[in-house]
Subunit: 275 residues, 2 copies
């Protein structure tokens, strides 16, 4: 089976607009794209949707919703409103999912269970709209090193517990960077394949863990440059019923400094050899 | 209950020898110490043991054994030999445990399950000597961000699985920095309290997670300066039957630059207010 490739636009975020990403994917023969909301807003939602459709690209996800924990009720309500807009955008783009992130601890808080409850409550609040719009909420656990300031959603087990609770309309996004270290990974990937409606993996993201890693956020590696056995994790996803795109998503100061056309060429090559 | 304090000597490693740490603990009224092996070697094992005994300090652990994964059989054998020496040293010092770290992936390897098997096999190899010497092997899971180059032992669940397998002579070291993010923490801490011989927590380490964290290894925080709810995790340890020391262990370029007497004063204060 040839796995189709998708470009997460953050990979070239510093040099290309969404319009350039769409043209770049077409030029390089990359059949999928996963845009970030700020780039969609910059281009205009309707125009972005049209350009992506005209280019014949699949939208493998919209980045990103979630981020529910906040210091007060007004902050939590604002996050929920923002997620409702994200659902509309995902629907308009025909995205296969809206990627939902946990968000970090509210400023000054040490109440991790409390923040996790806010995440749960946020999902509960937006799920009716997501279901009505036919937009899958792809809960993406992020690496535990992001727990304080980006994601209290830390493991695949935790994401699947939420899927178990909420059922229809929820799934997981598996990013190898965030889950590769997990001693429980094989078991949880298997579990992801056993939802009542079949597999619960809505998206599969790839990049690599560099040795050494010099930044907790912006030092992700090009597939093949690090230590993650990406094909082994992809195989787990396929065993769990996932047959979709591999989306390459690299947040990296090093790659942001390169010519995006070079980056796309290398992404395509590494997708073939290292994913 | 007043929790006794122990100083992990790495906290002041750049400015103080082990002899200075021993004198410093006595001067500041800190009743426990946990030395690193390089500092013990520098002072001489017999002299270190005598000085610690003369100062009336409890040795809450010896840092560190483990680090078993290696690229070839000779490397693995060398690691096992080194651990046998570490067991002798822990015995000579009267240490309550030898802290056992997972070690990272062998250079060039992407075989994480293989490295984890090497860790398991290493423990199996040294356990007879540890039991004969009465030295508890305290398996310490490190934060998942260290998985590639320091610790394939990533979660408390994984450490307790090894304790379940090996039984007598094995236990866990719980460092709040490494486990605070874990959605499964409360359950695993409870599990740690249920070994056949009672609780399986041999050591409790404290420092804090700073926001932002700027280095994956050397940017740990003084208790109280970060987001970890240390008292909540200490309470879990006590519920699991642990009544021992809280050992403050801070790897931090910022604190290494300070006057060690100031550091010890602040450690003592924060132990009282934030642990």
């Amino acid at each position: 089976m040839t796995v189709p490739l998708s470009l997460n636009t953050v990979t070239v975020r510093d040099r290309w607009s969404l319009a350039q990403c769409i043209e770049g994917c077409a030029r390089h023969g990359i059949p999928g794209i996963s845009p970030w909301r700020d780039k969609v807003a910059e281009m205009g939602l309707a125009q972005a949707a049209r350009a992506i459709r005209d280019a014949g690209l699949a939208v493998t996800g919209l980045c990103r919703g979630g981020m529910f924990p906040a210091a007060d009720a007004a902050g939590r309500a604002a996050a929920i409103e923002d997620n409702r807009r994200a659902i509309e955008e995902a629907h308009a783009l025909g995205a296969r999912c809206l990627v939902v992130l946990g968000g970090g601890l509210p400023p000054g808080s040490k109440d991790l269970p409390g923040a996790r409850a806010m995440l749960r409550d946020g999902i509960a609040a937006i799920l009716p709209e997501a279901r009505a719009a036919g937009v899958t909420l792809a809960l993406e656990p992020l690496h535990p090193m992001t727990c304080a300031d980006r994601s209290v959603l830390s493991t695949l087990a935790q994401a699947l517990d939420l899927c178990d609770e909420f059922g229809e309309g929820t799934a997981v996004a598996v990013d190898v960077y965030h889950v590769w270290w997990d001693p429980d990974l094989a078991r949880q990937m298997h579990r992801a394949g056993t939802g009542p409606e079949g597999g619960r993996i809505a998206a599969f993201h790839a990049c690599d863990w560099l040795v050494p890693t010099t930044d907790l956020v912006f030092d992700r590696g090009m597939p093949g440059d690090g230590v993650i056995d990406i094909p082994a994790i992809r195989a787990m996803a396929e065993d769990a019923g996932y047959a979709g795109f591999t989306e390459v998503e690299i947040l990296s100061r090093r790659w942001w400094a390169e010519d995006p056309d070079d980056v796309l060429r290398i992404v395509k090559q590494r997708h073939a050899t290292s994913c």
